[in-house]
């Protein structure tokens, strides 16, 4: 336990040790957050979402680390590690803070560095600054708040020409507090240098069932010819508010492939912004969200085609039961300069209950004349014909339904190249379906 006086000194020291440019970034982002204010139902960026719940709770941002006993979460972490495979590099982040003790030691892995804030400021200040410079524009109020209020960060650096044979698994654990509602501002930055490549997954879990806010940003920078396969799994408790912003900046010939999966959370909002800032870039943004009870999940994606000859692919699939609410907002912006852009977007949702709701909004803004852009959206109940066919062959109604839901999601899930992760996700999906009907 740290007493209050020590806490203040701790704060003071931290602030003193930060470079000026960093302090000015924090300041500028706080101003941005204040200017944007909290969301209102009239706000275009929040409309159609039941945000009252989100706004009704007053949260506090803990100034120092929550007092968690490592021993208590060790077992939790060990259990989760079992799912990631023997070759995995496990990175554990607790309430926004990188835990060296719980994470695997990466010092022997050539070309990979996983650092906290102070280490990053010493080792990669320019690269950190470069990510910040490219990530500021496209953002909303909670991302600005995260930018301003994070107390630590996790910086994952891949050196050039390094193709990482082992997958990286980031495990984010958050805990609620019994007296106050805590907001954890978790910040991760992934920097892939020229011609590097890796598989990286991010999983979010709750350590307890107490209401907490996870306000997360994961910013990803791909230098030319870099390649990242990214999977994000939101599996927090159904008491949690989860606000996730990912700002992806891509340079020439880079490939970013991402799969965004939502199982848990009371209210989840994912914002993914991709900026394709040179030629011959490929960006794939896929996602599956499976909701029940009163769960809310909103996926906002934005693909910025700034230069010619780039490709983007996007498939989002929603499975909604009970009184859950889903939202998909897919923006594709093709700049005047971005000729020969090839962009495909599709959003599909199955509503399993009369009370489930889905809002879907494709937004295409195209300022170039020689492009291929397609988008499609289907929303429907479960198709009766296949269900009857499976039942007529002897599958129980429940099994038949689950199999069809699984098949619906499979188009996205089968693109996850890591067997361990894919199998886990499939099991999680079955588990959620089976606990249902």
């Amino acid at each position: 336990m740290i007493n209050l006086k020590e806490k203040q000194i701790h704060q003071q020291e931290r602030s003193n040790s930060l470079p000026e440019w960093y302090k000015s970034f924090l300041h500028q982002r706080l101003t941005a957050h204040r200017d944007l204010g909290l969301p209102s139902p009239k706000d275009e960026n929040w409309r159609s979402l039941p945000i009252r719940d989100l706004l009704d709770h007053n949260y506090i941002i803990p100034e120092t680390d929550t007092d968690l006993e490592i021993e208590d979460i060790k077992e939790f972490v060990q259990n989760k590690k079992k799912n990631t495979g023997n070759d995995a590099i496990n990175v554990v982040i607790v309430n926004g803070k990188l835990s060296q003790e719980l994470s695997d030691d990466v010092s022997s892995i050539e070309g990979l560095e996983i650092l906290n804030l102070s280490e990053t400021l010493v080792k990669f200040p320019e690269k950190l600054k470069s990510i910040f410079d490219h990530s500021v524009e496209s953002t909303h109020t909670y991302a600005a708040l995260n930018d301003a209020k994070h107390t630590d960060l996790t910086f994952i650096h891949l050196e050039k020409n390094r193709s990482l044979p082992r997958p990286i698994h980031c495990m984010y654990l958050s805990s609620g507090d019994s007296t106050d509602i805590h907001m954890h501002n978790t910040k991760t930055l992934i920097y892939a240098s020229k011609c590097s490549s890796c598989f990286i997954s991010e999983s979010y879990y709750s350590l307890n069932k107490t209401l907490a806010y996870s306000n997360v940003t994961t910013d990803i920078h791909l230098e030319s010819s870099a390649s990242i396969h990214h999977v994000k799994i939101q599996d927090e408790s159904n008491e949690s508010f989860h606000l996730y912003t990912s700002r992806v900046y891509q340079q020439r010939d880079s490939i970013f492939k991402s799969c965004n999966l939502t199982f848990g959370g009371k209210f989840t909002r994912n914002d993914i912004f991709s900026y394709l800032d040179d030629e011959n870039i490929t960006c794939t943004l896929d996602g599956v969200y499976i909701l029940d009870h009163q769960q809310v999940c909103a996926n906002y994606t934005s693909l910025d085609h700034a230069k010619p000859n780039c490709y983007s692919f996007e498939v989002y699939k929603g499975i909604l039961d009970d009184s859950s609410t889903g939202l998909f907002n897919g923006k594709i912006y093709v700049h005047q300069d971005a000729q020969k852009t090839d962009a495909k977007q599709s959003n599909q949702a199955i509503l399993l209950s009369e009370n489930a709701k889905i809002h879907t909004k494709p937004q295409l803004e195209i300022y170039a004349d020689d492009v291929k852009c397609t988008h499609g959206c289907t929303v429907g109940k479960m198709d009766k014909d296949p269900l009857f066919y499976l039942q007529a062959r002897g599958l129980s109604k429940k099994d038949a339904k689950n199999l069809l839901i699984y098949a619906f999601a499979a188009e996205v899930l089968e693109n996850i190249d890591n067997d361990h992760v894919r199998k886990n996700v499939e099991e999680r999906l079955y588990h959620k379906l089976n606990n249902k009907n």
């Binding site: 009766k384 014909d385 296949p386 009857f388 066919y389 499976l390 039942q391 007529a392 062959r393 002897g394 599958l395 129980s396 109604k397 099994d399 038949a400 199999l403 069809l404 699984y406 098949a407 619906f408 499979a410 188009e411």
Partner: protein, 252 residues
């Protein structure tokens, strides 16, 4: 085996089956023939348990049990199989997985141990070869991208795997060329057994050249209007349904 008594069924407000009576004994092959819209396919679907149809009266007694209140899967477990007129394409669901799941559900009901993937492959190998189905179709999605003939052969293959006591074939011959028709018919003949019966629903007589029925029934406007031996099918082939219509008109 199965006894259908005064079966009436409607969809929305339209009555389609207007009192069907039919008894099939073990080992028998029955054919139901009728013009378009007579209710043939409805009968097959109602037997299999499609919930779009509302049964307004009657009973379907299958091995001593009334099927009407049972779910489609419960009927399948008890040994009823319907080969679909239009087999459904199910993207994302693998053929092998699906069929093994179907077989194991039935085995579970019968109190038999589940078949693992290896046993299953051995079990189905010969059955596939007999229907000239390529093993590669097992890893494809159910019926997805199959030709019309492949879909129908797949239906008969599934029937061979699930070994039902009553096989209902809903216009299995439609859309088949002569070679495919022969393969399918041979598939059915191979399954003939003193304890297994078939109900062949068809518009045309030609499948009956290969699978010989013991009885032929003519269905018109939701009722069986004539029943006889296999010669009735040939009669129909020659004179068409209009002759039967005339006969009926004369009797009124």
């Amino acid at each position: 085996m199965i006894e259908i008594k005064n079966l009436k069924a409607k969809i929305e407000d339209k009555e389609i089956l207007k009192g069907i009576n039919l008894t099939i004994k073990p080992g028998e092959v029955h054919a139901i023939m009728g013009p378009n819209g007579s209710g043939k396919s409805t009968l097959a679907q109602v037997l299999a348990g499609r919930e779009d149809y509302e049964i307004t009266s009657g009973e379907i007694i299958f091995q001593g049990e009334n099927l009407i209140e049972l779910e489609p899967e419960e009927r399948a477990w008890r040994g009823l199989f319907m080969a679909f007129q239009y087999p459904v394409e199910i993207p994302g669901v693998g053929n092998a997985y699906f069929l093994r799941a179907a077989l194991n559900s039935k085995r579970k009901y019968l109190g038999l141990p589940e078949m693992d993937a290896m046993e299953f492959m051995t079990y189905i190998k010969k059955k596939m070869e007999a229907l000239e189905l390529s093993p590669s179709m097992l890893s494809r999605s159910v019926n997805e991208g199959f030709s019309g003939g492949e879909k129908k052969r797949n239906e008969i293959f599934q029937m061979a795997v699930l070994e039902p006591t009553l096989g209902v074939l809903d216009e299995t011959d439609s859309g088949l060329d002569i070679d495919a028709l022969k393969i399918v018919s041979e598939g059915v003949n191979r399954l003939k057994d003193p304890s297994r019966s078939f109900l062949i629903v068809t518009h045309y007589q030609r499948i009956l050249n290969y699978v010989t029925p013991d009885y032929v029934h003519i269905l018109m406007d939701g009722r069986i209007v004539k029943s006889a031996g296999k010669e009735l099918a040939l009669e129909l082939e020659e004179h068409g349904y209009s002759l039967i219509e005339k006969e009926l008109a004369a009797n009124v």
